[in-house]
């Protein structure tokens, strides 16, 4: 298996376009996450934001 992959890869040309392909890949992922975040319900976001805070924090005397 390794030999097959390695022989295939040895002929790969145009490694210089790798960065362009990789950045494009990132932006696709980024857009998917963005859409999901924009569509997220406000109450979910509020619930998650408040997770570290507890009722007794309001009376925290330290």
């Amino acid at each position: 298996m390794y030999k097959v992959i390695s022989s295939l890869l040895e002929d790969v040309k145009g490694m210089d376009v790798l960065s362009a392909i990789s950045v494009s890949f990132f932006f696709i992922l980024f857009i998917i996450i963005m859409i999901n975040v924009i569509r997220m319900r406000k109450e979910h976001a509020e619930e998650m934001k408040n997770m570290p805070l507890e009722k007794h924090d309001l009376n925290d005397k330290f």
Binding site: I5, S6, L9, E10, V12, M15, D16, L18, S19, S22, V23, F25, F26, L29, F30, I33, M34, N36, V37, I38, M40, H44, A45, E46, E47, M48, K49, N50, M51, P52, L53, E54, D57, L58, D60, K61, F62
Partner: protein
């Protein structure tokens, strides 16, 4: 629904907090000592154990893994139970984790001054300690995931996402970079060589910063900043984008440490592109942290904890803007190998990690001991000492960096280097190094004030080990939620997706570099080291010479003019590990041995220079290494070293190990005899002979006419 009562155990969090304070002071102190040694090299008192090359790895390891590491675990053991509404999974695992980690730190503190090192920056610990780190990391992961599984909250808060990402990525980084072949107890060679080793090392080095010093501390920020400000984080939605973008992008950026080196251009291009894109998620985190304080800025004036967090998060923003700028090739051409990089990393370490840790400790101790902080004034003084210390440290180093870069590159109108003597360029920055010492003293003084303040706080209260809380049990029901909301409730899926995000960049960069042969051009004239040179190379590693000297001549006129022909990828194919270095406190050594070269020196000069550098130049800042002329080479290890190298692909002939000692003795005899003829009394088997043999070999495979030998 019925509510369950349970208790949080603060003991382990307190242990880790105390360890953070202790190792923080040690790490800062060692840092201060080596900063002073750079200005006054005689301060090593001719003792090998406290020489700069051996103490600098101790400083970096102490600060990163002891101070910041314990800081991370303090944050995890305090915040995770409270965010998940359950005690930690196992008290036993918590104890093993704590004591195991401290044992690792003690092992590092003993072995590094002894010169037991792999010679790879930020990964110097030898294989038995690497194995221990792996085991303890597994214990930590087991405990964290056990707690996640028995949680009482459905969704996992953003701080824990960062802890999970740090946990899985650090495991991948540590294991991959620590693959080494043992030669004997506490001596091994990495399985990678040359370009590949450099790539793996900086993939690791950069991402140790990304995931150990950054991601885990972002988790700390997302918990402790809202707690201290008593306000929710600014934007949960921003945290989702910031988290996934950050972990996906960070892993690609490692090669920006190797710009203009002999790594392939495509790897360098990837490093640059992803470093620049990284500004966005990094600043997403900074904005989220700072804007959490909206409506609470009046508190920042009063509260030292918030002051420290504000400076910490701002330093994070500055460092993560500067990092991508340094990775632009035109900037890197100037900044690389200079003190600019040192200033940059210390803005991150002293500002981001230091201030966030101090803020957390000042917030935690009063709550551990149920008493107000002993002295707010003292904490405020600490804040100003730390802030001024950081500035006094970094600003002179920025000036030093610019000065070095400009002097290294300056030519006369006749076309010659204006400062051909490297030492001239160091002497210009010596006052700046002195100022840096002042910064270090200020920062350490602040740290000592904190120790006093925290001890007094602890003494004025009583440790509250257990804290009660209550929450309804987690309902077991099929989730109807979608995408991110769904994976926030599935820690294992979350961890796998985080792992996939970091593996994408890793695989795309690793596979071509390791598989495509054309990436590393073979040079016919490059031959394996002789047994004596190999032993000399191991002494070079042991003494930590790479902490001051590079072995990578970049293809710039100023470097070729100063040092000789630029370095080729095929030259280091037998270098396990590579020794390109990251800084030039001393000159580059890649062509040190080329007789017709720019910087060639005879054996006798090397002998005098190693034993007493100031004898060859009164202003030299290199420390003396007199023990090299007294200690014997570990000749008995030669056959096993040759065998190990052959196992790693170095083409020593079969059976060469049996004649390797004779070969070593013969070469050592020739060098020693030459020295004796020059009036230096030295025995053949001394370490200095091996080191001279190695130094005189450097660069000679290619020499002055590289086009003649490249296949």
């Amino acid at each position: 629904m019925a509510v369950e009562k349970f208790t949080y155990d603060n003991r382990i969090a307190k242990y880790f907090a105390v360890a953070t304070v202790l190792w923080g002071v040690v790490g800062l102190l060692v840092g201060l000592i080596i900063a002073i040694e750079l200005v006054f090299p005689w301060l090593n008192l001719n003792l090998e154990f406290i020489t700069f090359g051996r103490l600098r790895p101790l400083h970096t390891n102490a600060v990163i893994f002891a101070f910041v590491g314990n800081g991370i675990f303090t944050a995890v053991y305090y915040s995770v139970p409270r965010l998940l509404k359950t005690p930690m999974f196992s008290e036993l695992l918590s104890k093993i984790h704590f004591w195991g980690w401290q044992f690792i730190i003690v092992c590092a503190a003993i072995t590094l001054p002894l010169g037991l090192t792999t010679g790879k920056e930020y990964a110097e610990l030898e294989f038995p300690i690497d194995i221990l780190i792996t085991l303890i990391w597994v214990v930590f992961g087991w405990n964290l995931f056990g707690t996640l599984i028995k949680r009482r909250t459905r969704h996992i808060y953003v701080a824990i996402w960062f802890y999970i990402a740090a946990l899985v990525t650090v495991a991948v980084l540590h294991i991959t970079n620590s693959l080494e072949l043992p030669v004997k107890f506490f001596k091994s060679y990495p399985i990678y060589a040359g370009v590949q080793d450099a790539f793996v090392q900086w993939w690791y080095g950069h991402n140790a910063v990304a995931f150990f010093l950054t991601a885990a501390y972002l988790g700390l920020m997302y918990y402790f900043v809202p707690k201290a400000a008593n306000r929710p984080i600014y934007s949960y939605k921003l945290s989702i984008i910031h988290f996934w973008a950050l972990i996906f992008l960070y892993i690609w950026a490692g090669p920006h440490h190797l710009l203009y080196s002999s790594t392939p251009d495509w790897v360098q291009a990837l490093g640059v592109v992803f470093s620049v894109v990284l500004i966005a998620p990094s600043w997403g985190g900074m904005i989220n942290g700072l804007l959490t304080l909206r409506g609470a800025w009046d508190k920042v004036r009063e509260d030292p904890v918030l002051k420290m967090f504000v400076v910490g998060v701002t330093a994070y923003g500055m460092a993560t803007l500067e990092g991508p700028l340094l990775s632009l090739k035109s900037v890197n051409a100037i900044s690389h190998f200079t003190d600019w990089t040192i200033a940059h990393v210390h803005i991150g370490a002293l500002g981001w990690n230091g201030m966030m840790t101090f803020g957390m400790l000042y917030w935690l101790f009063p709550r551990f001991f149920k008493v107000k902080l002993y002295s707010k004034a003292m904490a405020n003084t600490h804040f100003w000492l730390a802030t001024l210390g950081m500035l006094f440290f970094a600003i002179p180093l920025y000036f030093a960096g610019f000065t070095q870069a400009l002097m290294w590159k300056e030519f006369t109108v006749e076309g010659y280097l204006k400062y051909p003597n490297f030492l001239e360029t160091y002497l210009q920055i010596r006052p700046m190094h002195l100022l840096r010492v002042v910064g270090g003293i200020l920062y350490l003084t602040g740290g000592i004030l904190m120790v006093i303040n925290l001890i007094k706080t602890a003494k004025s209260g009583k440790f509250a080990r257990f804290e009660e809380d209550q929450a309804p049990p987690l309902e077991k029901k099929a989730s109807t939620e979608k995408f991110h909301r769904r994976i926030e409730g599935k820690p294992i899926t979350f961890a796998i997706l985080a792992l996939v995000a970091v593996l994408i960049g890793t695989i795309i960069e690793f596979v071509p570099l390791f598989v495509i042969k054309s990436n590393i051009k073979t040079i016919a004239s490059v031959k394996p080291y002789t047994p004596l040179e190999l032993q000399g190379r191991d002494i070079y590693l042991k003494e930590g010479c790479y902490n001051c000297h590079s072995q990578m001549i970049r293809p710039f006129r100023s470097e070729v003019e100063r040092y000789g022909e630029y370095s080729k990828s095929g030259e280091s194919v037998y270098d396990h590990p590579f020794q390109w270095g990251s800084r030039r406190t001393g000159p580059d050594l890649a062509r040190e041995g080329v007789k017709s070269g720019k910087i060639y020196k005879p054996d006798s000069w090397h002998y005098e220079h190693l034993v007493n550098p100031q004898k060859t130049n009164i202003q030299s800042i290199m420390p003396a290494y007199p023990w090299l002329a007294k200690k014997d080479i570990d000749i008995a290890s030669t056959p096993s070293k040759i065998k190990a190298m052959r196992s790693l692909g170095v083409p020593y002939p079969a059976g060469f190990e049996s004649s390797s000692v004779d070969d070593l003795n013969k070469q050592a005899g020739a060098i020693a005899s030459g020295l004796r003829n020059a009036g230096i009394q030295v025995e053949d088997q001394k370490q200095i002979i091996a080191l001279i043999a190695y130094l005189q070999r450097l660069g000679t495979d290619v020499g002055a006419n590289p086009e003649m030998v490249i296949k």
